[in-house]
């Protein structure tokens, strides 16, 4: 972030907002990791901790909203400062949604059996989770480093997340096909896969907003 506004407190306010996003981002990244661990290891004890840290993320969102409002009122930001305000508002919203989805996923394991889930299915879900985790890390790096290259990479990587989601869903359906008794479990696991794909969409949006923050434009969709 470039410094030296004539008004020093303006710089400080922008710094605080920037740092809040970085912290909220790393909290969300950890939450996503904890949630994937809970799912792939069927670690039901960790769920309550996950629920708690999701609450923290929600608080960040509320506090960032408030700070941006104050910034708009006090500073009437323009150009790069205006883009920071607007994109930060959107990024914090997406981070909050990612937190919600990760928390929701962790809670979905509560009714599941601890062991007899097929390892191929858990593996494909783990691979999907890893792709999403890689994506959020890159997305947060793109923000921290103000890197359009990384932001574009995140947008490109979304395709892979979508592919892995399809594979994961297919594994869950195979599991369901083996025994209709698995219906309830399978439904939960379908939600988990779908939620991971959605988290990927939010992460992609974050990267698009980082790109906008830096360049004043949105990345071209090259489908």
């Amino acid at each position: 972030m470039s410094d030296d506004h004539i008004v020093k407190s303006y710089d400080e306010e922008l710094h605080i907002i920037n740092d809040a996003i970085v912290q909220m981002g790393s909290l969300t990244e950890s939450l996503l990791e904890d949630s994937m661990n809970a799912i792939t290891k069927m670690d039901k004890d960790s769920v309550s901790k996950i629920v708690e840290s999701d609450k923290k993320i929600n608080k960040f969102r509320a506090s960032i909203d408030e700070q941006i409002m104050t910034l708009l009122v006090k500073r009437s930001p323009v150009a790069i400062d205006l883009r920071l305000a607007i994109s930060t508002l959107k990024i914090s919203q997406d981070l909050e949604r990612i937190g919600d989805l990760a928390k929701g996923n962790a809670k979905k394991i509560l009714p599941l059996p601890e062991d007899d889930l097929p390892p191929e299915m858990l593996n494909s879900m783990r691979r999907l989770g890893e792709a999403v985790q890689k994506q959020i890390k890159l997305s947060l790096d793109s923000y921290l480093e103000r890197s359009t290259e990384k932001a574009i990479q995140v947008v490109k990587d979304d395709e892979q997340v979508n592919d892995l989601t399809k594979i994961s869903i297919k594994e869950v359906l195979d599991f369901l096909a083996k025994d209709k008794k698995n219906l309830e479990f399978a439904t939960n696991l379908l939600f988990v896969s779908k939620n991971l794909e959605r988290a990927g969409d939010h992460i992609t949006r974050i990267a698009e907003n980082v790109y906008y923050l830096i360049s004043g434009d949105y990345p071209k969709k090259n489908k």
């Binding site: 470039s2 030296d4 506004h5 004539i6 008004v7 323009v78 150009a79 205006l82 360049s215 004043g216």
Partner: protein
């Protein structure tokens, strides 16, 4: 954003250099000002905004040490060509200054003065109409219609500035230049002038120098940023305030240097 699709350049500045004695105040200014739009000029004090504004109605001619080269075209005609009637030019290009400067005369006479000396009105009745219409266009009529014979200097600052705008309008100009017209006014009076500027642009081409970024963003369609006598960037106002091309423009409008 409302954008006039078939824009027509009303004023074109070509390679304009201005010197005060040995000191160069403007360097190779090239720009276009579009008809029926508001163009804002911004930049730090002393960067040459007022100097450029005064080039458009040849007000710099009255400053002895001031030398201008290059061309200013209005409607395709170079106003610095030999034999140009400067009085006629200043009829066409009116000016409003930072500090409201009504004549020490009645409200009526403030407006009637220009049409009289320019021979615009044929008789008293026509003059009355011009006064009324000018004050109406300047959104001042309702406030002063019952006291036209009172001195213009007795009005509030904001009213005085609208009186000066009415005075500028009274001689049917095509272009109105405004040099920081609101810098001496409170927010309400400023809002009234801004509202007025907005309503005037359908009939006139307006160039406004302002120190308020927010005002430039509110009233203008295009904005030019000057720095140390050079035009650094000129573009759609929207673009300038969301995503300027030039780093120096960005640093200035975001308050990163003064």
């Amino acid at each position: 954003m409302e954008l006039n699709m078939n824009r027509e350049a009303k004023v074109i500045s070509k390679n304009v250099d201005v010197f005060y004695g040995n000191k160069q105040a403007l360097f190779d200014i090239n720009l276009e000002i579009f008809k029926n739009e508001v163009t804002a000029l911004i930049g730090p004090s002393g960067c040459g905004k007022s100097t450029f504004l005064r080039c458009i109605n040849r007000m710099n001619d009255v400053i002895d040490i001031c030398k201008i080269s290059g061309e200013i075209e209005i409607d395709g005609f170079n106003i610095y060509k030999q034999g140009v009637d400067v009085v006629r030019l200043r009829e066409k290009v009116g000016m409003v200054f930072q500090k409201p400067n009504p004549f020490p005369k009645s409200i009526y006479d403030n407006i009637a003065y220009g049409p009289n000396i320019h021979g615009i009105a044929q008789n008293k009745q026509e003059l009355d109409e011009i006064v009324e219409n000018s004050l109406k266009k300047a959104a001042l009529w309702n406030e002063v219609k019952d006291r036209l014979n009172e001195p213009g200097t007795g009005l509030s600052g904001g009213q005085q500035q609208r009186l000066c705008i009415a005075r500028a309008i009274s001689i049917n100009p095509e272009i109105i230049l405004m040099d920081e017209p609101c810098s001496a006014l409170d927010p309400i009076a400023t809002a009234k002038i801004e509202e007025l500027i907005d309503s005037l642009k359908s009939s006139y081409t307006i160039v406004i120098v302002t120190h308020s970024m927010a005002q430039a963003a509110r009233v203008s369609q295009r904005t030019g940023f000057f720095h140390l006598g050079k035009l650094i960037e000129m573009d759609e106002t929207d673009k300038i305030f969301k995503n300027p091309n030039n780093k120096m423009t960005q640093d200035y409008i975001t308050g990163r240097f003064g």
